[in-house]
Symmetry: C2
Subunit: 302 residues, 2 copies
């Protein structure tokens, strides 16, 4: 009996290994599945990662690729890049893995010099809504915000009445740890969401980007046994080989990835294919999709 | 700098290690945090696990405790217990770990005899709403169902107009894999949700219970590299030592756990403490809580 729980792949990690990348073209019938949508996509539906806003977190087990969100957290993004360029993170470690919540890395004791990077930063927890900020509204209602959707590929929320927008704590999003003081985060300690979206953190802490490849290297770390999932012994922590800005590496050493754009008709088709599953396994379509269930589609550049 | 991403523990796993279990009593002021609510709880706020509806999944790394939900999937629960009692699972393995989705165990090739257990079962994907079915409504709106809440401690949904209720695919919920045929699941292959709630599975597959202890042993498994996170080599799979019904073990070998009841004023206080965080770290209370963000509180029996 080959009973399997599901018939379709869901997430970024490992995704590209499993879906044949078909040539562009128009399908004979409307797309039924995410694979159909992707198979019908054209080069205009994709965008490359910008090397200047891409980080490589190198672990012994492999490389984690992080896309920064400078339009939402410009000072944090700049500080993190300054830290990476001073090799601040090299030799530090993953210090925390709390089940169904976050994995965190950095220097919790604060022993290492920040070099030219700033020790405190303004709380970039929300941004002002401006006409220049792209925002594609997801029609599905959300409990945590008046509107949710995507901004430059990132899951986001906005409140038009308050004139604010912010990134949403979905699986794979990366943020900058802080203490109780709102300005106490500086990007020297980063976390990634590895569980059900802790959306209560939205507007309370600076999200700085998201993992676009290799999240399984973080999410499968053994959970820490101390309070909040911190490891209790140094030998339990996974060392960080290096953190680099992609632009600083020779082209041959960069990841060649592209991300599906979120401001296209193709992406709307993809969302619809996930909102109402039409593959043979499903009996009841949900008729709804939660912001954090919309997949982030990343693949090697053809 | 001790910047940490959050100030409060969230989940069942490891939870009991971190919160001091205080004596019962009335707090001087209204509870601010989940820890306050638990500290003020009385024995009537808790219930023990029923040994006849508790499974122990024993791995080399430790024991996973699963609470079955016989009121929602009676035939699946009975079949799984029959399989456990025939030692069906002993020596099988975790065969799948798909990032941000599920971890699955069993016998995907179907080589092992099911013994007296049934090979197919009716699709127990929903149950009829009856006055006998407890259901505490969560006031917060939900996108996937007209109403959500808790039934006997399990996250659940209901549709009064259709006269149906069902369990919800939150983190830690356990289900029975099936093929495309609705009756092809039998409990011989089980999965646990280890990512953002895949609520689109609700009403499409039988949920049979949830993990109440040890989920980190499943969720931190290395992700499988094959399609849908299946492992590609036998040596990558984690062996299952045994699966047992707690009632079949001597009392001294059972876990002594209790679960916070969900049909109490105390639980409503706990939900409110999570809906609007009042601890010092938070700046903006969410004013909302997603069903799958309500914590399942489990602790050793005093």
């Amino acid at each position: 009996m080959k009973a399997r729980a599901q018939g379709v792949l869901v997430l970024l990690a490992g995704w590209t290994a499993c879906v044949a990348v078909a040539e562009a073209g128009t399908p004979a019938s409307p797309p039924r599945t995410m694979a159909d949508v992707i198979a019908a996509s054209t080069p205009a539906d994709w965008r490359p990662l910008e090397p200047e806003n891409t980080l490589y977190l190198q672990l012994a087990q492999g490389r984690v690729v992080i896309e920064l969100a400078p339009d939402f957290a410009p000072q944090h993004a700049a500080n993190i890049k300054a830290l990476a360029r001073s090799k601040y993170f090299d030799g530090l470690a993953i210090v925390r893995a709390q089940d169904n919540f976050v994995v965190q890395w950095g220097d919790p004791e604060g022993k290492r010099s920040l070099g030219d990077a700033k020790a405190t930063l303004p709380p970039e927890f929300t941004v002002k809504l401006t006409p220049a900020l792209p925002f594609e509204v997801l029609p599905d209602r959300d409990g945590y915000a008046p509107e949710v959707g995507f901004s430059q590929g990132f899951p986001a929320a906005r409140d038009v009445a308050r004139g604010e927008a912010w990134l949403a704590h979905c699986y794979g999003m990366v943020g900058a740890g802080r203490g109780n003081a709102p300005d106490s985060g500086n990007g020297a300690e980063l976390y990634v969401v590895t569980g059900h979206a802790p959306r209560q953190l939205d507007r309370n802490i600076a999200l700085v980007g998201r993992v676009v490849k290799g999240i399984e290297l973080l999410s499968s770390q053994p959970r820490g046994s101390g309070p909040m999932g911190f490891y209790e012994k140094v030998e339990q922590t996974a060392p960080i080989t290096s953190v680099r800005v992609a632009a600083d590496l020779p082209v041959a050493e960069r990841e060649s990835l592209e991300v599906m754009r979120t401001d296209t008709e193709r992406f709307r088709q993809l969302v619809e294919a996930r909102r109402n599953r039409r593959d043979d396994w499903y009996l009841v379509p949900a008729g709804y999709i939660d912001l954090c269930n919309v997949p982030v589609v990343v693949r090697p550049r053809p």
